[in-house]
């Protein structure tokens, strides 16, 4: 592969979030959140609905600008960078509600992942001559041999994305992110809405990406089975704050986490909430968040 040296970007990166606070008007979405994703590991960001996971993701990928705190990429402060600059550094992400280009084929969608690292200018493109053609052919070979084969989507490469099943679309989105040769891969609910088989496939691909490409992965996910199976490190958010972090089994055993998900551990208190007797029901809390 030639591109890694071209871009100067290679290997997994360390992502660090430091004291991040974000509020929309009076609503505090995130307050002083800190955590890190270590190079070449899988970090999962979990938490109940409205805990601030997607806001966190949008801060990391540059759509929201936090009022306080910093996002560091290999020690470099990227908090104020725009998404295209982050892409050039090696950020890649997928979206919770698939954000593929529906009018294009799978192949073209994946090729777009390399956009920021390609050099063809307008004149060369109009003539499709010399360097432009060579660059396109190198891209095609890379996409075919490194990504399409890897993710087992050979059979659909020429199909328009709109015609694919949900699970396959998610996989194409992962393929597009991989085409960016990411140094950190942000996955926003990679298996949401998938059946068991599709979930297992996706989990396998994510593990393969980590092992074969050595990419740092940060994901938001609701499927606890998968999170506990493949993550190296789990960070739990609730009401915009980190309430626990550590190895999967540590987090699972943490009483704060159980409380965040299920409410208080006391059965009597739980029953009381179910009947809506408590002043602070789980439902109300979610609405606040």
């Amino acid at each position: 592969m030639t591109g890694q040296s071209e871009t100067g970007a290679s290997g997994a990166a360390r992502l660090e979030v430091e004291g991040l606070s974000l509020s929309f008007g009076g609503l505090k979405a995130l307050s002083t959140v800190s955590f890190a994703a270590e190079p070449g590991s899988i970090t999962a960001l979990i938490g109940p609905n409205g805990a601030g996971k997607t806001s966190m993701f949008n801060c990391i990928s540059g759509f929201y600008h936090p009022q306080q705190g910093a996002v560091r990429f290999d020690g470099r402060d990227v908090t104020r960078m725009h998404p295209p600059e982050r892409a050039a550094l090696g950020f890649a992400r997928t979206f919770q509600n698939i954000a593929l280009f529906r009018g294009m084929t799978v192949l073209d969608n994946i090729k777009l992942g390399r956009h920021a690292h390609m050099k063809t200018n307008l004149l060369q493109a109009l003539a499709y001559w010399g360097p432009a053609q060579r660059e396109e052919m190198a891209l095609r070979a890379e996409v075919e041999e490194r990504i399409i084969d890897f993710l087992e989507i050979n059979h659909i490469r020429n199909m328009p994305v709109a015609a694919l099943s949900y699970g396959l679309q998610k996989r194409v989105e992962l393929a597009r992110a991989l085409a960016m040769r990411p140094r950190i891969l942000l996955l926003d609910e990679p298996v949401a809405g998938m059946n068991r088989e599709e979930t297992e496939d996706m989990a396998r691909f994510i593990l393969d990406v980590k092992e074969e490409w050595g990419t740092t992965i940060l994901m938001v996910e609701h499927d606890m089975g998968m999170v506990m199976d493949i993550s190296d490190h789990v960070v739990v958010l609730n009401f915009g704050q980190v309430i626990a972090s550590g190895l999967p089994h540590e987090v699972q055993a943490d009483p704060h986490v159980t409380e965040a998900y299920l409410g208080s551990g006391d059965p009597a208190a739980l029953m009381a909430r179910l009947r809506g007797e408590g002043p602070d029901t789980g439902r109300n809390r979610e609405e606040v968040a």
């Binding site: 979206f95 956009h115 390609m118 307008l122 493109a125 499709y128 396109e136 052919m137 095609r140």
Partner: protein
């Protein structure tokens, strides 16, 4: 007879024409384009030149509106910029006409860059209104900048000269316009095989994820505006050499709508669509006129009675396309191709 397509290299798979029948048809088409001036009479050559000009401009608008998703109603104004540039250069400078055409394209591209600036903030109908505003401002400039545009009476051009010969015949102009248009269409087709063309489509389909992929919205949108108006400028330049009179009324606002209708009827976001659409919009009114001519022996005053009907029929045809074939003429061609793709083995 074809039973399948097998390719041995990525290059073959990414070629513009991938199958032998496609290449054969294209060769036939090129041959007939070369032969046309020897077979057609002057009236049809006039129409052929007009079609070439309109195809060039419609292809440009298709890059902007069909591929990048930025609705523009300024295409005629950009053509006017090209036409005035060419007219002024032809009258005041000794430069060869091909250079003038290029200069027309670049001037229009510069104007397009400025007109495109609001596109970062406004989309859809709002952008369309912004481009309409730009059209009227440009019209005002054409009327009032008399030292260059000669105001309302406009510029009257001398014919373009090529190797000492003045190009006055339609057949001569045909041999200049058709290759230029063919090159421009080829350029557009190439564009969408590369990163730049893909970035345009990405912005049309979903601009937020385009940004995440490292596509700068402002740069790419402006680039699309510049290319599109470059095409319009060159087309306008050809128009100037064709009619040899350029006035502020040569490129009315309706002409912009004509191009928008052409790419909608032809098929937005396909190279073939702009070509078919421009051909349709240019030729169908003429064909309808022939229909009236044929009726004249039967109905003596058919012309007077049916002229308004012609406009109505033309309008109905366009509405018909919007309803029954929203993806345009290009989709009909694609469907026919699919049907015959592996014919007769697969239907």
């Amino acid at each position: 007879m074809q039973i399948g397509t097998a390719k041995h290299s990525y290059r073959a798979d990414e070629a513009l024409l991938t199958t032998r029948p496609q290449r054969l048809w294209m060769a036939l088409f090129a041959l007939s384009l070369c032969a046309a001036p020897f077979l057609l009479d002057n009236y049809w050559l006039y129409l052929a030149c007009l079609v070439a000009i309109n195809v060039a401009s419609a292809t440009g608008l298709n890059i902007l509106t069909g591929y990048t998703g930025l609705v523009s109603l300024g295409q005629a104004a950009f053509m006017a910029v090209g036409a005035y540039t060419v007219g002024w250069m032809q009258l005041n400078l000794p430069t060869p006409f091909l250079l003038n055409l290029l200069a027309g394209g670049f001037t229009a591209a510069l104007v397009g860059l400025v007109v495109g600036l609001p596109s970062l903030r406004v989309k859809g109908l709002y952008l369309a209104i912004a481009t309409i505003a730009a059209s009227f401002i440009l019209h005002f400039v054409f009327v009032n900048w008399e030292s260059v545009t000669n105001g309302n009476s406009g510029l009257t051009l001398t014919p373009a000269t090529f190797l000492g010969t003045p190009l006055t015949d339609y057949s001569q102009l045909y041999f200049v316009f058709v290759p230029i248009t063919a090159l421009m269409v080829l350029g557009a087709a190439n564009l969408f095989r590369t990163r730049i063309g893909r970035a345009f489509i990405a912005i049309r389909d979903r601009d937020i994820s385009a940004e995440v992929l490292g596509i700068s919205l402002l740069r790419t949108k402006l680039m699309s505006f510049a290319i599109s108006s470059f095409y319009a400028g060159v087309a306008g330049g050809m128009w100037a050499y064709f009619f040899r009179v350029v006035t502020p009324e040569s490129f009315p606002f309706v002409y912009s709508i004509f191009f928008l209708a052409a790419i909608i009827v032809g098929g937005m976001g396909t190279i073939l669509g702009a070509i078919l659409g421009a051909v349709f919009m240019t030729l169908v009114p003429e064909l309808l006129r022939f229909g009236i001519d044929w009726l004249t022996p039967v109905l003596p005053n058919a012309a007077a009675m049916l002229s308004p009907v012609r406009t109505i029929v033309f309008g109905l045809l366009i509405v018909g396309f919007l309803i029954f074939e929203p993806k345009g003429l290009a989709e009909i061609v694609q469907r026919t191709r699919r049907y015959f793709h592996l014919w007769p083995f697969k239907k």
